[in-house]
């Protein structure tokens, strides 16, 4: 379909992330409230489309057909689209891709993308137990693969063996992201700081990971507004932030289908990135700021490699040299990322989009000077799928 107009991200907000005393639908309302604070002129009637991203809603909140429940709670009356999407950790980033297509094609004008999870149950064991259902259940999960740390620990061991990556280099990711998380009051670990010593001396979760190498599981929700350029101009005076290009690539659902030579190579992410860069008519050098899926410190290191921000195998040295800091070549996870802001699966992609939106509009808490192009990335589950979205202050021409 020929593109007839541009889609832009107008603004958004998140609920408080953490171990919450709240229902999933409560937190989605909090995210809507934060989104309304960010866009004072926005009214329920302005929104003609709704996409809700959640994985756990069916199992943990007994809310299988989630979108109509959100319609009720947010006072919406969508006429163009009203759906739930689920790509686990990439849920709302997937929803943003769908929203872009619907707006560019003229099917929708203003879409609310909201994502959220209620992860923590009355009994904690149930949270780990549910994780068995997010992998290829009858195969890998029947081997006991549930929560992600064991799988990513093997990835880290392999990257250390093949490329010489060290625990100290991995700690640079968490320490940097804790610095970036400062001031983000809705983050899971808001108000906490982290030193290299603390990172390296933390209790072991799964060798080689210490506590700070792993992101938390979080309850929480986020919401963003994606609109046509014309409607966005009417809604806000801020600079426009265009959705330039997207890519999403999946190759397998279980270990037997792993596409890399070893666990340290993620060719499916490389492909997802290449597709997004091509669609955005940009290269990695053009990107000023990135929000990558730092579910573990090693993840951010491999993502910087596979997305082309540094050479394959050099991610460890790259993060240790300060290149992911605010004055580095690619400031990364400038809101603290998953490691500090937290990770309510379906909420994370939209949370990343909010940070890129604010950075490109020049109003971020840790502002990167003259940021013009930004990238968001999520992986899903045990690295089964990769999702990339590229934003810019100018549309693709």
């Amino acid at each position: 379909m020929a593109q007839t107009r541009n889609a832009v991200i107008v603004g958004g907000g998140t609920s408080k992330f953490g171990v919450r005393q709240a229902h999933l639908l409560d937190m989605i309302q909090e995210a809507m409230r934060a989104c309304a604070d960010d866009l004072p002129g926005l009214k329920p009637a302005d929104i003609d489309g709704l996409i809700v991203a959640t994985t756990m809603a069916g199992r943990h909140s007994s809310a299988l057909n989630t979108a109509p429940l959100v319609v009720q709670r947010l006072g919406l009356s969508p006429t163009s689209i009203c759906i739930r999407v689920d790509t686990l950790c990439a849920g709302s980033n997937s929803a943003i891709i769908v929203a872009k297509g619907l707006i560019e094609s003229g099917i929708a004008d203003v879409i609310l993308v909201t994502g959220g999870e209620k992860v923590y149950m009355p009994q904690r064991w149930e949270t780990n137990y549910t994780q068995l259902a997010v992998n290829d259940h009858d195969w890998d999960s029947a081997m006991g693969l549930g929560v992600p740390p064991p799988f990513f620990a093997m990835i880290a061991k392999m990257h250390m063996k093949r490329y010489g990556t060290t625990k100290e280099q991995m700690a640079h990711v968490s320490v940097t992201n804790y610095g970036h998380g400062e001031g983000h009051v809705n983050g899971h670990f808001a108000g906490r700081t982290l030193t290299m010593e603390q990172a390296l001396e933390a209790r072991i979760i799964a060798d080689p990971f210490g506590l700070y190498d792993c992101c938390p599981l979080s309850d929480g929700a986020s919401a963003v507004v994606i609109a046509s350029e014309e409607r966005a101009k009417a809604m806000s005076d801020r600079p426009l932030v265009y959705l330039r290009g997207t890519g999403q690539h999946a190759t397998h659902s279980m270990s037997a289908g792993w596409p890399g030579d070893t666990l340290a190579e993620w060719p499916h992410l490389k492909t997802a990135g290449e597709v997004a860069f091509k669609n955005a008519k940009l290269t990695p050098k053009d990107i000023d700021i990135a929000e990558t899926h730092d579910c573990f410190t090693i993840s951010e290191i491999i993502e910087l490699e596979e997305l082309g921000f540094c050479k394959k195998g050099e991610g460890g040295a790259f993060v240790a040299s300060g290149e992911i800091g605010l004055n580095g070549t690619i400031p990364t996870n400038t809101d603290g990322g998953l490691l500090v802001y937290g990770h309510p699966f379906g909420a994370s992609g939209a949370r990343q989009a909010i940070e890129i939106c604010k950075q490109l509009q020049g109003r971020a808490i840790h502002q990167v000077k003259d940021a013009a192009f930004g990238l968001t990335h999520n992986l899903s589950g045990t690295c089964a799928q990769h999702t990339v979205v590229i934003y810019g202050k100018e549309p693709v021409k």
Binding site: R59, N128, S141, G144, A256
Partner: protein
């Protein structure tokens, strides 16, 4: 004000003692619930098998109903190698999902460059923490897992189940 009576039942009264399929950690292996049940029958006979496409020769794991390469539905059962080498491993003491006793040892296994199966995540059983090393050889092993009930008209049948893992070759 009358004192509230304390609940006599803690939990879900309607589900007291009932099997909940959606909470099961093992596959529904009975022929009534899947079309690849020969895989489980073969496990009972000590065989590690999967499906091979009769049209294009592609072997896939897990077994399928159609070939993912050419979409043919003419598939046959073939045996997979039962020995593999440990590439890397991880041992979980705390936080293993309910139903899996610690230490939960998971290994990334390679079946060699020429095998129909390149790599696979495998649980290593009958193994102490710290015993398994990179490069070790492991072999396929089967064991029984809890049965589950299922309804057939007015009767309740029981599906006995089996699964597989790997153990260290000593």
């Amino acid at each position: 004000m009358a004192e509230l009576q304390k609940a006599e039942i803690v939990g879900t009264p309607a589900l007291d003692g009932q099997y909940i399929g959606e909470m099961d950690i093992w596959p529904f292996e009975a022929p009534e619930f899947n079309r690849i049940y020969p895989f489980y029958d073969n496990l009972r006979a000590g065989k590690f098998t999967t499906t091979k496409c009769k049209k294009c020769g592609h072997i896939t794991f897990p077994p399928q109903v159609i070939c993912p390469k050419c979409w043919s539905d003419e598939l046959e059962w073939v045996e997979l190698p039962q020995r593999a080498k440990v590439v890397t491993l991880t041992e979980t003491q705390a936080g293993a999902p309910l139903g899996f006793e610690p230490p939960l040892i998971l290994a990334w296994l390679t079946f060699g460059d020429k095998g129909p199966l390149k790599h696979l995540l495998g649980r290593i059983i009958h193994c102490k923490e710290g015993e398994l090393k990179e490069g070790d050889e492991v072999k396929f092993v089967t064991f029984s897992v809890p049965a589950h009930p299922f309804e057939v008209k007015k009767d309740t049948k029981i599906s006995d189940r089996v699964f597989y893992a790997f153990e260290l070759v000593k």
